[in-house]
């Protein structure tokens, strides 16, 4: 049982504020170059993409929706390894896959964090005085991990307590990196089923959204917030199916993330499935370079926190990081998608041999225009669809065209979305 708590007591926060201020006034913290660059990383365990989309459509998760609306986001982040929490968070926090960090299960045994540490450890190589804190109710991620760079690891027993602990940490002016992990959605999935059709699971996501809101409000309320360069990253570690995860199905592997804050444009990133290390074949090396994947998180974080330093440069060669930074210029972004006018379009399979299906997640039919162009901008396919809805499927055949990346735009009125399609 995890006891549910709701935050109503404002008085409680005030006393916390006082307490924390007293603590921080006692020590004048040391300063590094770039110490105005800061990161809040919020992880929610086990949130399926389709569940989150559905709740955003119904405006039931306003806090997360706000991050999507003005940030860079993707629903095409692919999991290339074991879809369990231990390996997944290790992928994201180290920036390398499980063949390097060696965490293959929630037991965390066999790990090699000495060679492949958590990103705060790396950040501290350039910002030795950076302060990093982790908050999670899932104790193995605290007890079984080392060389992680956290100055403090808090294990409050519930999501509610995690939110509150995070709030109290955000008061600290010296704080540079905060990782907050919420576990109860995963618990609801295991208990009832990971599925948009199961109310208990959906309720858990709407509830955790209030916790996200609480933490973000505390961030915006920082005394010196205007002078700090914060990036918020929000993601999940895996999806789920039935009452479990850990497998290779798309509902477990195909996930999402969103970034918002200093220097982050408003746009959507799409990408095709590079494959998984679990299938026996190695993932497609080209697609790994263009598709969002889990290991990108740590690299993007390092990029933001130590801009223009040796640390930013050394991740490929010295640290052997697998991920890529989405702050790098020149990546194959798809710009221009506007979250407010989003159309929920899915392409599958992707990558494909040129034959693929397009479905739109809508209950009421609308008229659509579908245009496919190659990277040079040449239109290779165009179709008008009348009363296209969630039960309709558009089959597209590009077999006579060359292999490569195509951009598919779906328009309806003033709404438009562009997605990448990869033909092998």
């Amino acid at each position: 049982m995890k006891t549910k708590m709701k935050l109503k007591s404002i008085g409680k926060i005030k006393t916390l504020l006082v307490a924390s201020c007293l603590v921080s006034m006692g020590s004048i913290y040391a300063q590094d170059e770039h110490d105005e660059y800061k990161m809040l990383f919020i992880g929610i365990d086990g949130v399926r993409s389709d569940a989150l989309k559905q709740l955003m459509d119904d405006d039931l998760v306003p806090n997360m929706e706000a991050l999507f609306a003005t940030g860079t986001y993707t629903f095409d982040s692919w999991h290339l390894g074991i879809t369990s929490s231990g390996p997944s968070w290790s992928d994201m926090l180290t920036g390398v896959w499980e063949n390097k960090h060696n965490v293959t299960s929630n037991s965390y045994t066999g790990s090699d964090y000495d060679t492949y540490p958590y990103f705060p450890t790396r950040v501290k190589e350039c910002r030795p005085n950076a302060k990093a804190v982790q908050v999670t109710s899932w104790s193995p991620m605290s007890d079984n991990v080392y060389n992680d760079g956290w100055d403090n690891k808090l294990i409050p027993p519930t999501d509610d307590a995690c939110a509150l602990a995070a709030q109290s940490q955000l008061i600290d002016p010296a704080l540079d990196i905060l990782f907050v992990h919420f576990d109860d959605v995963d618990a609801a999935g295991h208990g009832n089923g990971f599925n948009p059709a199961i109310p208990a699971y959906m309720n858990a996501i709407t509830y955790v959204d209030t916790k996200v809101g609480q933490v973000i409000d505390a961030l915006y309320a920082r005394t010196n917030f205007a002078n700090e360069k914060w990036v918020i990253m929000l993601t999940t570690d895996h999806g789920g199916t039935g009452t479990s995860h850990g497998g290779n199905s798309d509902t477990e592997r195909h996930i999402w993330w969103v970034a918002n804050g200093y220097g982050i444009p408003s746009m959507e990133i799409t990408g095709a499935d590079p494959g998984s290390y679990r299938f026996g074949d190695a993932p497609d090396p080209e697609l790994i370079q263009t598709t969002p994947v889990l290991t990108d998180i740590a690299v993007t974080a390092i990029d933001h926190l130590v801009p223009g330093t040796d640390c930013e440069e050394s991740h490929k060669a010295d640290w052997a990081l697998d991920g890529k930074s989405w702050l790098d210029e020149g990546s194959l972004y798809v710009e221009g998608n506007n979250f407010d006018n989003i159309i929920d379009v899915n392409i599958f399979p992707n990558p494909n041999n040129g034959v693929f299906d397009v479905v739109v997640n809508l209950t009421q039919g609308e008229n659509y225009q579908v245009i496919l162009t190659d990277l040079a901008g040449k239109t290779v396919f165009e179709k008008e669809l009348e009363y296209f809805d969630g039960y309709s499927k558009l089959k597209v055949d590009l077999q006579q065209f060359e292999n490569g990346v195509y951009l598919m735009s779906v328009k309806s009125g003033d709404k438009i979305i562009t997605k990448k399609v990869v033909k092998h």
Partner: protein
Amino acid sequence: MQSKKIIFVFIFLINSLGFAQTGTILGKVVHDNESIPFVLVAIDSLDIKVKSDLNGLFSIENIPFGTHQIRFVFTGYEIKNETVIIETDVLRMGDISLNMGEGKALNSVDVSHKLKNSQVRGNYIQKMENAISNVEYVGDGEMPAYNAAENLQKMPSVTIQKDQGEGRYMSVRGTPTDWNSSLINGDRLPVADEDSETRTMAFDVLSSDLLDYIKVTKALTPDMEGDAIGGAVDFTTKTSPDSFELRINLMNGYSTQAEKPLYNISLFHGSRTKDKRFGYLISGSLFQRNYGTDNFEVVYGSNFNQGINRLELRDYIGERTTAAGNIALDYTFKNKSQIYFKGLTGYFLDAERNRKTRYNYAVGAGSTVSLQHIYSRANSLLYGGEFGTNLNLSSKWKLDLKYAYYSNSFEYGNVPFGGNDERNGYQVITFEQYNINYLDQVYIDKHGNAYQSDENGNPVDKDGTVITDPSLELARVKLIGPDNPLGNGDEWDNIQPKAKQALVAEEFEFSNAYTELNTTWERDPLIAQFDLSYVPNRRVNFKYGGKVRFKEGYRKLSLHEWKQNFDVFTKPIFLTNYRHSDLDLNGGFLEELDQPYEGQFMPFLDDSFSDGFINSLGDTLREDPMNPAHHSYYEFVGAKYSYEEQVYASYLMTDYSISDKLSFIGGVRAEYTVLNMWADSLMDGDDDWFLANVYDVPNGGYEIVPIDDDPYAGELEPIKEYTVGYPVVEVQNNQEYLSFLPMLHLRYDYSNQLIYRLGLTRSFRRPNFIETKPGSPIIDFSNLEYNQGNPNLKPAYAWNADFMVEYYMPNAGIFSAGIFGKRIKDHIYRTITADIDPQTGIIYKSYQNAEAPIFLMGAEVNLRKYLDFLNGFAKNFGIETNVTFTHSEMNFPGRSFTQALPLQPKFLFNGTLLYTNREKGFNIRLAANYTGGYLMEVNTSAIQTDSGELGLINDNTEFDVFMKDKWSLDFSASYKAFKFLKLYVECTNLLNTPLYIYRGQEFRPIQVEFYGLRLNFGLKFDL
């Protein structure tokens, strides 16, 4: 009280002085040194008729001096006439020996005859009783003395719930065990066992060596404890013999199932002084046996579908020891008044090893296979006794006074640390292989279409194309039988997990270890009782009595955990690095199902190594004791409680023979109950919690202090910081209620053989302590269950109507038939919900009173007949059989239909074929038993509906839990080779029908357990 005493003394004096020219005759009716109760003792010339009591004793007072002829009459025995001359105040006739019928004087005593005699005795007690009941003598054990429940099983209309093949709880007419009371010498004993969910004593601890006879009452009389809706079983312990006796029994047998020997040693010694006034007995017994059980269990994961979360294969091997002791003293005064003391003790040790293989389709760590090493030494100790006196105040007034004390306690023994280490408990050590990719699951889309898994575990359509359409909202589940829409679901008896990767012993790594801690005790420090009886003439008996019982109890569950210490060692701790071997399956696992898992078992740690595993790993493991820093600390808040209960009861009744044919018992009993329970409650309201630090304060214990008011900040290092504190407050539940129980019994003796009986009685059931416990729920850690008490629960009251016809035949033959009905108000039932809190998948159980009265109706037929009217070979045969049919109905709130009452089987059958050859010393018994299937638990999971109200998820029985019907057949035989030596063979559970619990329909097993055939044979020495 003072004035009453004086009156009694006064009456006594008048009686002694007023009729100086009369005398009293005292005596005892016996056969083969065993007393015979209810023998008619008549002096026809004076029109005096009395009956011998349960111990065969009788007394006739106020007999004028002179010569009289006394007649002793008891069906099945020869009528005996004795002439006495009364010249003194008291004439002691000593033992009056009756002979068996047909003019045969018995010149030798053999055990088979004794057994028969016991049944005769039982039959006649039953016949003489005015209430509806059955009586059975335990007699001298032919077979090893398992526990009292084994004897009980032979009785009509009694069913036994078993644990590891041995009886644990009983019920009359199949009614829920909670409706029945088990009494020792008329007192309900305190209950303390592993689960302690009931007020009904587990028979594990009660050895049949302690017992003299058992009486089953179906309709209560006012002088009995009234909390028994279903019925009461009273066990009378042995009393002192009439002459010097010393018996030593040694029994040595062999159990084929466990492939281990078994022992039974018992000692009995008793004697009586020459003047017969003082008698004593002391007896003791020790019984040791082994068992082995194969079991598989299935855990279903959701209230929304029938997907399987886990398949668990359990291999049990265990050793049970029962030790019992008994002491009795009695002294008879001149006027036949008596004082006595009876004491008993029972000790039960169950040393159980359980090796579990768990296929986890869905756990927090993804899909895994885990191996659990479980070892526990569960032991119970019961002791207590009673001290009392039966005073003959005058020829008309009798007063019985009694004081009793009983104590019962349960604990886990010295595993794994030995001695009294407080971390000892139910030890579980788990090794796990992670990242199992099960391929035997199907994917169901939102339209209900099903897809199978390919070799990577991905959903594929019929053509083998991988389904990637995200809008289908696929759910991956393991479905069996017809639940599987692809039509290839596993059958219940062959559920096969299929993993992509091979299970490899070398891949199993240590996952965690823990001990479950359990301290449970209950005692009745004061049971005081008086029964005053007034017999103004021989037709009427008035009884007035009272009883006070104080009860107190305590229960605490806790947990001690060990985890891998990553500060010391980050590599996996592999099972195969330690002494391990293949699982000893005792010749096979689930042989009954053709060994579906043959060759699939992984090795386990050797017993000797797993026992010391935690110690041997030293600081590679990190201890996580139960204190406020433990992650489950607040989940255990409700797992401790204590209680005190006082019952004040009083009754008034009369037993009146209106004519020789018609008699009745009428009366009323009142019981006033005062219950106080104390438990802890977690204050987890919106504003109750606070951010906290936890300290282990030197000399101050663990303290949880708010972060913003931390007195230890900067002084002590917190053992945990930024945790959440909740206020934990002690809450109390106080209940007081008066139970008013009128009772009426009519008996009509149509003839000597044919008796009609009618009973109309009111009885009740006190809620179990776990059911009214206040505060937070009790956690069942291993089963992930919470038990939420309901302090507002009311006792259930029943009106019971019983009608019986009994036809008695010579030599203990009886045919009886009857119907019964019960109307129960505030019936207490258990609810199960899994999803009240959307954050968890844990099962919550709670208790409710039924809103509407429930009705239960039934009919029963019993027959016991020995074919002694036949000649030759056939005359040695006998039949004992009974059938009970019950219909019940109940509507669960939210359900659109009615269902049978949970735990009430519709149909019960017992049938025993006996062969007894006294001359040759043969005794053979073949017993069949059938218990119909029944509903165990109703799934009342509810969810918020669109209208905002709570609605049941399942308005059908597909998610309810049922027990399947069960046949069993036992065979036993003994042969008396010499006077001191008997050979016996016992073959129980011949059909080996499994205990089978299922969800909704039989193809969905929850628990299937085979105990195997138990073949014991051995020698019994009577020294």
